[in-house]
Point group: C3
Chain length 145, copies 3
């Protein structure tokens, strides 16, 4: 009988990369509900722009929807570029910690793109119903203490 | 008897990453023929700078050769930085769709690098003679509608 | 009896990505000794800023420590973003050549981040005591001949 085995590290990394890339694509296209669904139901997002962490999909989606509508009105596209990603070995509870650098690039029609923010993103990812989700996300900005 | 199996997702991702990185390195070093050979013989490239898609290796190589000579004359180096890449599961025909963000960075001698373009690159990749090739590439720029 | 096999390419890539990401995180947080320990004992680092290559962990750590203290005094954070990485198949001696693009982003308090340098990084990596180490690193800047 073959034993069930944990997925090897390479599979974990490939899955996390796809998860992260799709999540950023959803965010940048303003698909607020689909983006919020990449968090656990009570997922926590501590962005540098909010005084308190945001918790739960409804609040997460509302925040992205409002931000995207404002940017669309200004004709600005934002991209979240995830690089230099270190995926840790899974914790005993199966969660996985991931540390990445994130550049936020803003572009307006007929203008050159601007490097708006340089951030560090620290995630705690978990698998729910066979899919990766963010349980906790902490983001810091290099231009703030 | 062991059945032939599709390569697992992690292997696919690693192969695509190497393919893409080498392809960008060839492009940025101006190796026009080697770059064109990373497309299928009748490969299609729809860049934002051309009014019509470019089709076929000869036309692809000619475009890169001309662009690189112009940049070399100006002493400018260009880099195509590929990030935030989502590799989809293979289609029934074996082709693979890949969506990435691409920053184009331009640098002149003794000057600071400039973030020239923020693009989205959507590829349809296929395997030919054991090597990955681009069958179709669609690139959009954030500064254009 | 199962034969010992080389790790497949996907595992190699995943391991190299983690190694590189953690190494850049150590560099950017100014953890000079831990960063120097990611090189072999007599590891060689040929950065564009030094007239001669730097060799050995003590010299490597000293250089990073001095640079980080200076930046901290100025309130500047630096990030080394590694992208577009091509990991070659291992050489017969087990070493692995890796070519990447590196953006160096500098951010001061309350200021926008600046793309400071666009570099190409060519590494020769080896495994020592079960861990990846840099044996040789050559970095070039696009703004210099």
């Amino acid at each position: 009988m073959l034993e069930s085995v944990s997925p090897p590290y390479a599979s974990l990394c490939a899955d996390v990369q796809r998860f992260h890339a799709r999540q950023m694509h959803l965010l940048d296209s303003g698909d607020a509900e689909a983006w919020a669904a990449t968090f656990t139901e009570d997922g926590l997002f501590a962005p540098p722009s909010a005084p308190e962490p945001i918790r739960g999909r409804a609040a997460l989606a509302a925040g992205v929807r409002a931000a995207h509508e404002e940017l669309a009105a200004e004709g600005e596209t934002r991209r979240h570029l995830l690089t230099t990603t270190a995926v840790a070995d899974p914790e005993p509870d199966g969660s996985v910690r991931v540390r990445s650098y994130v550049q936020v690039v803003a572009t307006r029609r007929a203008e050159a793109p601007r490097l708006l923010l340089m951030c560090v993103c620290e995630d705690v990812l978990v698998v729910e119903d066979g899919e990766w989700k963010v349980r906790e996300r902490y983001v810091s900005r290099d231009d703030r203490p």
